[in-house]
């Protein structure tokens, strides 16, 4: 079984997009010598915790885990996968958190709640349209919206710092709808 097939199978099994984590996973499997397949570990990049996924068709690994443990592990893996997403996008001149961002932000909030030593900086940005000073305030309002959401969902105020860069640090250069959409954002930076 080649690497990409294994990766696909793994992704299917976990039924969540564990992709950033998978690059680590893939290497581990490769080094471990394919053949039987073995336990895979996805190292959570932020927290450094280790998460175990279920085994593949070879079915060797999960024998030691109860169903409940498996479920918990899968939930943990899913949470970690969600937390791979650290950039959240906004519509023009708004600071409303989009529905699709909520589940991810809840995952971040839970993680912060369970890791009180972990701090995060929320960096608010705007696209280049409109005035620089208003955009500075808009970037801050976006960061504050995310901050409030994280606090409501369990993070504590002291863990969160906000800064606005307004339109000064675009993620993507260019003056078109696609660039603007990618630049209207809040980035979570874990320290």
């Amino acid at each position: 079984m080649n690497l990409s097939t294994q990766t696909k199978a793994l992704a299917l099994l976990l039924s969540v997009g564990l992709f950033a984590g998978c690059s680590t996973t893939g290497e581990t499997m490769d080094e471990g010598g394919a053949g039987t397949g073995s336990d895979v570990s996805a190292i959570d990049q932020e927290g450094g915790s280790t998460v175990y996924g279920g085994g593949d068709e070879g079915g060797v690994s999960s024998s030691g885990l109860t169903d409940e443990e498996k479920q918990a592990a899968e939930e943990q893996a899913k949470q970690a996968a969600l937390r791979e997403i650290t950039t959240f996008y906004f519509d023009f001149d708004t600071s409303e958190i989009k529905p699709e961002a909520r589940e991810v932000l809840v995952a971040h909030a839970k993680y912060l709640a369970s890791h009180p030593q972990q701090d995060v900086r929320l960096e608010g940005h705007a696209d280049e349209r409109g005035t620089k000073e208003y955009n500075l305030a808009l970037g801050e309002r976006r960061a504050n919206a995310v901050k409030r959401f994280l606090i409501v969902n369990g993070a504590s105020r002291g863990q969160i710092e906000t800064v606005s860069y307004g339109e000064e640090k675009p993620a993507v250069m260019g003056s078109n709808e696609s660039a603007w959409a990618q630049n209207r954002r809040v980035e979570l930076v874990f320290k």
Partner: protein
């Protein structure tokens, strides 16, 4: 002239575009002025090349500087010297009939004399139709400051003809952004108003924003991200001394000076939301001027020095508001579209200029404060940062050209724009300095 220009305004003059040249390794990257649109109603004037005695330094001739200044104003159309029939430098050599034949309304003549390290100019301005001298003066400057001398003469000529003070001796502050060794490089620069004699005052890898001139032209307030967040500094130009004046949690931004130079308006969000404050600079004491859940920012004093204009999105999107005094109820000024921001009033209380969104484009517009009538002044579509010349006659703003930001100057009552060669890096956030005597 294009048809559009004729229909836009009787007073459309020209646009002067200032593009930053890419002078690699040069500490003195200068702005290039490109005149992109001529003028129909501009006043014809002959600026005769000044006669010279003694050695003059290399570089632009004084009369050439005057000619360029007057052209840049959009209100004059100087006669190219090669079309002149004679090159007089004194009254007795001026043949009014010749100049009338050439369609000129005014003639400026003069002579330059060098003695030691100074150059003196004796110059005279004539009204061709009345065959009268309307200005005669002697002025001098150090041999290294011939541009200062040229701008001074431009100011005098401009005032003698229009009755309005010239603004050619004023300065411009602006921010440039380029990439150096793979990192962004922001520079706060100050130049003559024609883009010449640029000097870098601050360089940073982090953004610099919102330069604002003190009323005496000696200091700039601005926002710098050099510490990782927006902080307001006041910078003394002569000494380079910088003072951190506002470094509260959250935003410290949009500084604007009071007429007496003793306090700054600013936007702070230390209490959680962007509000406008006034800070007394000597004591650091803050007075909160707005208190609203909306964004309130971009405050600036009106022409009385008592009231303020500012941007607020309390009605849903950003709009311009005015308060007659610092504790008055805000009154909304703009209604023409969903997005109007960054007000800049003139000195007479007639107009307020601002960034205006129409359809998907951002233009500079102005509203007549008596009638409420709104006029869009620019044709370009990503316009920002309007700044009015201190005599109220010209407007400079930043716009996009390709992926770069460039500065454009138009006449304040209507304007055309642009089209210039690509430049490397951005030049943005122009702030037109005061007239300093």
């Amino acid at each position: 002239m294009t048809q559009r220009t004729r229909t836009l305004s009787r007073h459309v003059f020209l646009a002067v575009v200032i593009a930053m040249t890419a002078l690699v390794n040069s500490a003195h990257a200068e702005l290039l002025i490109r005149i992109t649109e001529g003028a129909d109603s501009a006043i014809p004037i002959a600026v005769v090349p000044f006669s010279e005695s003694g050695t003059m330094p290399a570089g632009d001739k004084v009369s050439r500087i005057v000619q360029d200044d007057l052209t840049m104003s959009g209100e004059f159309r100087p006669l190219p010297p090669e079309k002149m029939l004679s090159l007089p430098s004194r009254r007795e050599d001026v043949y009014f009939r010749d100049w009338r034949m050439l369609g000129q309304r005014y003639v400026l003549v003069g002579e330059l004399k060098r003695s030691a390290d100074r150059v003196s100019a004796r110059y005279e301005l004539f009204d061709v139709n009345r065959q009268e001298r309307i200005l005669g003066e002697t002025a001098s400057a150090s041999v290294n400051s011939l541009r200062t001398l040229g701008h001074h003469i431009s100011d005098k000529v401009y005032e003698a003809i229009t009755g309005v003070k010239g603004a050619f001796s004023t300065r411009l502050a602006y921010i440039t952004r380029d990439t150096f060794k793979g990192k962004p490089r922001y520079r706060l620069q100050v130049s003559d108003v024609d883009g010449k004699r640029a000097r870098i005052r601050l360089e940073s890898q982090e953004p610099i924003l919102s330069p604002a001139w003190s009323p005496d032209g000696k200091k700039l307030a601005y926002v710098s991200f050099e510490t990782g967040k927006p902080v307001i500094f006041v910078h003394e130009l002569a000494t380079g001394k910088r003072t951190k004046v506002a470094d509260f949690p959250g935003l410290n931004s949009a500084p604007a000076w009071s007429d007496d130079g003793r306090s700054l308006l600013m936007t702070l969000s230390k209490d959680g939301n962007a509000e406008i404050y006034r800070m007394d600079l000597a004591s650091g004491k803050l007075t909160k001027l707005t208190d609203h859940w909306a964004i309130d920012t971009e405050a600036v004093y009106d022409h009385t020095g008592q009231g303020i204009f500012f941007t607020s999105d309390r009605s849903g999107g950003p709009q311009i508001y005015h308060m007659d005094s610092l504790d008055a109820e805000p009154r909304r000024i703009t209604f023409g579209s969903r997005y109007n921001a960054r007000p800049r009033p003139d000195n007479e209380g007639r107009f307020v200029y601002y960034v205006h969104q129409r359809n998907s484009a951002f233009h500079i517009a102005r509203t007549n404060l008596k009638t409420g009538e709104e006029t869009i002044l620019t044709r370009t579509s990503s316009d920002e940062s309007p700044s009015i010349s201190p005599n109220g006659r010209m407007l400079i703003y930043a716009t996009k050209q390709g992926d770069n930001s460039v500065l454009t100057v138009i006449s304040a009552d209507g304007g055309a724009a642009y089209s210039l060669p690509a430049s490397e890096g951005d030049v943005r956030e122009p702030a037109w300095g005061p007239i300093v005597n």
